[in-house]
């Protein structure tokens, strides 16, 4: 009502709608009567509506309360029945007599009081004290039960003060050496199950983002081989997840949830790797015998078999029509899937089994990691140059101390390559492949089995084996831990693939489960911009400001 200061009567009239207002003369008479009558304390109890009012402390301080209740009582004794009409009428009259209008009006319009009636505002200690003062000093103003409830609700006992020393207690001393020692000892006190969630939520919370510690979806993957060196999960740009379960390949269409069996490996063998081509139309399948098969994902038919490797093909990577395979004997072959003589390149650089292989998205470079603890970066150009010139790696990195299975190219900074080592290494190194420099190193609690960069955020995800079996999200370049999902699987998390939208990551493990985790959000930048632009067409001001 504050916006209608001059016509307060309208509201009162609406409140007492369909009632004949009292004549002004009667009202004036009533008012004069009320002024004459001496106040009686218990009069207001006759009207429960009025009686409840003085319990609010601020209203008690105003002088007119008794007057109103008194005059009301007078009217009641006179025989006026309609409480609302009389009361409102009365207020109108009293206002004429007493100048501080706002004070008076707050009485008839409790909504104007910004404070909650039941929860005392703690603007200042003085005010709380004042409120309590009023409550305790005037027990007759409100029922004792109400006061007790109010005291219980506020948690402030009556006739008591809760005091604390003005200074906060000193912070615990931080000796860096001791703090470090404590940090090491902390896991000893950790209870299984309780700590991971609390740490992950706490750290994620501090970043202002919460990452779900539970998978969004779990798929059963019976027969999935628990072998660190294989690569059995892939996710295409057509939103199809390809997974190899022992000798069978299955496709799971994420859009429909439909499962299709693609095919089987030849008798007595098994599938050691799968990878979708960049357009999602073809699936490359590596076989334990050394053959590389090409399947049409649409029709689920085998197109061709490219043999030649002497042993298991544990990793595959596509770049356009080139399917590159890493073999257990340490050789890396390029297969041109279009031509009959498919082998178009061979790169010998690893002494041990090749277990990680990734093309950079532009096809310039190929990264490989091997069981010989080496990371190699190869020139990816396949051309008519003399054989042998391409066989040497551009960079060879020997910093890892265990098999390098996890290799991943950064989607938003092409020169960045992340590689992670196995159990005895458990370190993630970030390389600048242009200069060959090692930019960052991140020790982790357990073996790094795969790395996925977020396409939308400066973060990457690592999956880990025993003992944490965790998914970890790290920020780049600070290498801070953004989140950790411990015990994501019942056994070591071996494989991961990121969805085409860049928000969900699928992980596979020896516990025969595929789990889908929503780690990142798809930024709605474009949508937001559009709506903003359309919203701004009306307001020229902000446009002008923006142009400037």
């Amino acid at each position: 009502m504050s916006y209608l200061p001059k016509t307060p009567a309208t509201r009162h009239r609406s409140r007492s709608e369909a009632k004949t207002p009292l004549t002004p003369s009667l009202a004036a008479g009533l008012n004069s009567l009320s002024l004459v009558t001496p106040s009686k304390g218990d009069v207001s109890l006759a009207n429960p509506f009025v009686a409840s009012r003085p319990s609010s402390p601020i209203k008690r301080t105003t002088s007119g309360t008794i007057q109103v209740s008194e005059s009301l009582h007078r009217q009641a004794s006179i025989g006026v029945i309609r409480k609302g009409g009389v009361e409102s009428r009365l207020d109108v009259v009293t206002r004429d007599y007493i100048p501080p209008k706002s004070e008076k009006r707050s009485k008839s319009q409790p909504s104007r009081d910004t404070r909650d009636r039941f929860i005392t505002t703690r603007d200042s200690a003085d005010e709380v004290a004042a409120t309590l003062d009023l409550m305790s000093l005037n027990p007759q103003s409100a029922s004792p039960g109400h006061t007790a409830r109010l005291a219980a609700a506020t948690g402030v006992p009556l006739n008591r003060r809760v005091l604390s020393y003005h200074e906060p207690p000193p912070p615990s001393a931080s000796d860096p050496l001791l703090a470090q020692a404590r940090e090491y000892a902390r896991p000893l006190y950790a209870r299984p199950g309780a700590l991971p969630t609390s740490t992950s939520t706490a750290t994620a919370g501090s970043k202002g983002r919460k990452i779900a510690t539970q998978p969004e979806r779990v798929l059963d993957a019976p027969g999935m081989v628990d072998d660190f060196y294989l690569n059995l999960v892939t996710w295409s740009c057509l939103n199809v997840v390809g997974v190899a379960l022992a000798e069978n390949t299955y496709l799971w269409r994420a859009d429909t949830g439909e499962v299709v069996q693609m095919g089987e490996a030849p008798d007595g063998s098994y599938i050691s790797s799968v990878d979708f081509s960049n357009d999602g139309q073809f699936l490359g399948v590596g076989i334990g015998t050394g053959a590389v098969e090409l399947w049409d994902a649409e029709t689920q038919t085998k197109l061709r078999t490219m043999s030649g490797h002497s042993s298991q093909v544990a990793c595959l990577s596509w770049y356009q029509h080139i399917l590159t395979s890493g073999c257990a004997d340490g050789s890396i072959w390029h297969h041109d899937v279009r031509v009959a003589r498919h082998k178009v390149g061979e790169m010998i650089g690893h002494q041990g089994e090749v277990c990680g292989l990734k093309w950079r998205s532009d096809g310039e470079l190929l990264a490989s990691g091997g069981n010989d603890n080496v990371v190699n970066v190869w020139d990816g150009r396949v051309g008519d140059v003399a054989p042998g010139t391409r066989s040497a790696a551009r960079w060879t990195k020997r910093n890892h101390t265990a098999a390098v299975k996890a290799v991943a190219w950064c989607p938003w900074q092409p020169s960045l390559l992340a590689s992670g080592g196995g159990t005895s290494d458990a370190t993630v190194h970030i390389w600048n492949t242009t200069t060959g420099a090692r930019l960052h190193s991140l020790p982790t609690p357990s073996q790094v089995t795969s790395i996925q960069w977020s396409p939308h955020r400066k973060e990457f995800l690592t999956t880990h084996g025993y003992p944490t079996n965790a998914l970890m999200v790290h920020a780049y370049p600070s290498m801070e831990r953004v989140a950790e999902i411990r015990d994501a699987h019942d056994s070591r998390v071996l494989w991961s693939a990121i969805g085409p939208a860049g928000d969900v990551v699928v992980t596979g493990a020896g516990d025969e489960n595929l789990k889908f985790w929503r780690i990142w959000d798809v930024p709605k930048v474009r949508k937001g911009k559009e709506s903003k632009d359309s919203g701004r067409t009306g307001s020229t001001k902000s446009d002008i400001l923006r142009i400037r």
């Binding site: 200690a125 305790s136 006992p157 003060r161 003005h166 906060p168 615990s172 001393a173 902390r186």
Partner: protein, 208 residues
């Protein structure tokens, strides 16, 4: 209330009892801070007290802080204006109170109209009671929830309205209460001197 007591007896024992109670608070607070890991364990050293070893902080800042508080508590005890002391353990990040260690201070009613005061309680008996409380505080670790986040503490004094409050040193504050539905309470032992009776209680946050 203190005024009801026989003045001659009060003059002698109130002060002594107050000092005893204040000292108890010091060791109780230290024990709680150590046991609940509010301050790192290596900040504490062992002191022989009440016939047992008690861990007391070596951190000068904390020592001074507790001293300042206890000095004022001592004054309030003398005037009988403090009714409750609370040591609240609060999460450092979320500022929610996790535990409240409550010490009710009651004044022992002297039987009125009795010229002969009751025989004084032997010191050894009081010490045994205090020792039992401190031991009980230590043993509460077995059932209190494990706190695996950084915490801070605060000491609250519930005083009567008429209490003398040093102007800018003590301020009215929130009681740092734990929501009733999430609070579990365990009553601990109590001890009494001839003048005071201290009842201890711990309330902790426990979400089913």
């Amino acid at each position: 209330m203190p005024t009801k007591q026989a003045p001659t007896r009060q003059a002698i024992t109130l002060k002594g009892s107050t000092n005893l109670v204040t000292e108890f608070f010091k060791y109780a607070a230290n024990t709680i801070l150590f046991q609940r890991g509010v301050y790192p364990a290596d900040d504490f050293h062992m002191v022989k007290k009440y016939g047992q070893t008690v861990l007391v902080t070596q951190d000068l800042a904390l020592e001074n802080y507790l001293d300042k508080i206890l000095k004022q508590v001592n004054k309030w005890l003398l005037t009988g204006s403090v009714t409750q002391l609370v040591l609240a353990i609060i999460s450092k990040d979320s500022r929610t109170s996790l535990e409240r260690w409550v010490f009710d201070v009651n004044l022992v009613e002297q039987p009125s109209g009795q010229s002969e005061p009751a025989p004084a309680k032997p010191e050894a008996e009081i010490q045994a009671e205090i020792r039992n409380i401190l031991k009980q505080i230590v043993s509460t670790v077995t059932f209190l929830p494990v706190i695996d986040e950084p915490t801070v503490f605060n000491i609250l004094a519930y005083t009567s309205e008429s209490a003398d409050v040093p102007a800018d040193e003590w301020v009215d504050t929130d009681p740092l209460a734990i929501e009733a539905g999430k609070s579990q309470q365990v009553k601990l032992r109590s001890f009494s001197t001839d003048v005071h009776r201290i009842e201890a209680m711990v309330a902790y946050r426990y979400d089913g």
